[in-house]
Amino acid sequence: MGEENPFRLLKMEQIDRESNFHFLFGYQMLQIFEGKAGSIWNRLQIIRSAPGGGKTSLLNLFTVDSLLGIYKYRNNEDFVNLFKTLDKLGVYRDDEPAILGVYLPCTQTFSRIEDLNAEQEVRDRLFFSLINIRALFGVLRAVCSLFQLDYPREVNLVGLDQKCYECFSRDKLLPHGNGKTLLEKGMEIERKIIEMIDSVNLSGIEDIPLLSNLPMWQIAPNCLNYNGGNIGARILFMLDDVHELTSHQRSLLLRELERNYPTARWVAERYEALGAASEIYTASTKEREYNVYKIEQWASDQRSKGLFRKGLGHIADRRVNSQKIITASTFEYLLSEELEKKHKERCNRAIDSISLRLRELICKEKRFIPWIEEVESIKVDDVYKRVSRLRALEILIQRKIRREQTLFPDYALTTLEMDKMDSASVQTAGRLFVSKEFKIPYYYGIKTLKQISSGNIEQFLSVCGDIFEELLALNTLRKSINISIGRQQSIIKRAAKIYLEQLPLKMASGVALRRLILNIGDFSRKRTFEITAPYAPGITGIAISDYDQYRLADEDFLGRYPKYRELSAVLRDAIANNVLEPRPGQQCKGQKWLVLYLNRLLCVHFNLPLEYGGWKDQDLGKMNLWLKTLAPEQKSLRWMEGS
């Protein structure tokens, strides 16, 4: 079943051929570098996202093997867009890669160096030594890939130009000789470092060359040789999972990487909105020497939202096309968006019920008759839309009643006034209210699936995978391969429930985080479904002031008020894992706020709308209380069973 469900190939590493990976990769993701073709090779680039956001896939696209593969299939219709997009970035030159991409994961080995019983300076130097050694291995592998040499057997054909040794003394790390000599020396040093990290004593440290900077990053184009000839490609070092380093190591590394180097340098890490890790500290006062990309925020940003969602559709369609069990050209084709008979009946009953309420209302306040007549006169074939419009009207009427007490309840209001009060948000609220009251599915369709991704590809694939499992089951039972809206909603709701339930299992501070989320959800739900829908389409997040954000990241404040320490840690984890989506710098009431939106999948659990927008400010005291207390029983959540 794992092979049959193409959405379960979550990690690109499970896709066993480069061409499969490229086939499934959405080229639209590369738009994140739009307008940066000049600087991505010269300045430090920092790419941030939550787990599953696509950082690693993006970096791996630029490895030598990947670029060669794309070039090979550049005329194939499935890969032509990917090739063109990369070509525009300057990745190719004269029929070959101009970039020698070297992927370097920051594994836990590095952070364990900090546990050694040695002076800080010694630990720093060991860190630089290991990172340079790993960079050396990466470069040798990349060159072998570029010329299709058998690594490590033919690495002796690769070497460093004499210029490298003349610039500065690197021979502590890099002995004179060919690639084989370099590799053997590197392996020897690496083994000594790893053995030291994995034991309680420091024996052998005197045999390890201790470095204090990044000499490997100083290898310029034309400094590498293959078979006597220079290699003109620029090295691109891509450090992944930099958040796995200790904060001290991270600062050291990023400070070094901000300098000028002939190599391109990219860094990928977890997003941190609170704390020192969110910024790099530089000693100089000059303009910062790096670009930052926040993938989920880019995905949700107005300008790029269309691109990202298009990219998701592309990824889903490619996955469906890659399997042979269910025939469909697009994933959307397999998802019904038609109301079932019972839902249409419910809609009709809803129309009757709401019409009756409106009639009762106009008995007391005739001024709304023109509004009701106007809405009822508009012919809408779709019964769901019809009842949603009626419900939206009810909301507008309630708003009008509460906004102004009138001495003339029978003085007719113009439809112009209604139009002024109406908006797409109110219409969305109308649909949500109808769904709740009359038990009509709300969460279905490809648009919903894209929305609940919350800018995270892995989350999107996971829910799509659940839906595809259902399709495979239908296929096995020889039923129509088209999943009803009721079943779609059930599956999405189940995924949301599991997401929430697994928080305590999957995350440090997960138990406290779950309490916080339940309280935020409960609060949001209550405010969303107020009779006037004041925050239409609904509240899906909370906000803390810039000042409170600063305090939660300030060690002095936390030292004086330790009761907020847990809240600080929990929010940091929540943001880093995309459980809460940050939107800093939102202006309201004359000040700036850090808005924290619930992950869109959590919105499904609390029956909230999926649009961003509505939020409510909270103080730290309230947030702390929510962190520590259980949310009220959410009995009314049972209404959205969806069948």
Binding site: G2, Q14, F137, R191, I194, V200, A508
Partner: protein, 379 residues
Amino acid sequence: MAVREMRWWPNYFLQKGKNFDGFWQRYLSSKQRNILYVLGKGFDPRMNCGIALILKANSDCRLTCMVINFEEGKYSPSQAYMNKVNSNFNELKKLLGDQYDLIDEDIAMLDGKKRIGGRRAAELFADRKKLTPYTDIIVDISAMPRSIFFPLINQILIVLAYNDIREKKINLHVVVAEDFSQDIRTSAKELDENASYMFSFFADMELESHADSPIIWFPVLGEGKQIQISTIYKLLEPRIFNREIEVCPVLPFPSRNPKRVDNLIMEYHRFFVEHNIESRNVIFADEQNPFDVYHQIRNAGLHYDVALEPLGGCRKVVSATSSKLLSLGALMAAREGKMAVAFVGSQGYTLDKKEKEKESAIGDDCELFEIWINGEPYF
């Protein structure tokens, strides 16, 4: 084919249940012993079972008790059971009275988010002179997390293997109070997001010299650990194309519950299917004999070494997500076979609600095991 020497197979020393009592009575009365008894301080009601019985067996022996206190952090779910921890500790102090020495060692499990407990536990025995006054070291793992007792026991074995100490034939025993159903009811909470390799069990996993070698993974499966198993798989799975992982799950058979294996296979069905695990890869090892686990894993590892030697060998990884008894077998296999040990740490543990109601009954069903892994029998 070279003779495969296994230190702990086919000759090994294991006593359990009533034989545990009998052994210690005879053992302690046969000659004057100076014992270092190491145990963990926890809420597990089995914490004092072993030491209570040993002291009862012979109250005249010289014994120093080292209690390791795990600092899991202020917000750890385990904090909810501090009363139980204190109660266990008070009971221990009462057992020891004034007759025996008590050493308290605090170990921080975390430094920020980084796991350092394993290193700190091993550092307790970094100085070889610490062990030389003793004839016997007993490590009671009943209330000790795996991430602690794996590196702790490994470090002790390293020290005992030094030439000057080897001659002293210091004995190393591992004691565990097993309650097979208790392990199921105690849940790890707030798991680490990523798996990692245990301290002193990195093996060759991150060395460039072995970077292209296939990985053979021996997960010792236990109930309710799907998330841990998936997380460990993510640690092992390749970041670069075309790397192989061969999975050889270890299942407990024979077992007290004859349907235990069936239940585990059903529980891990999706994992088996998604990773194309063939039935011939499954290893069965006696639920009550860690030496059988050791033997089976070690044997399989040696087969792979021989088979894959023409391709440059392989890297072997063990994960122990089952009972502590079986985990001990995994430890021995990892140590001798130079295998890595991958695990997922947690911020703490909870007892399920039903279990809290019958806490007082726990411990009544537990069975004590004595596993002798270094010293006189091996010379």
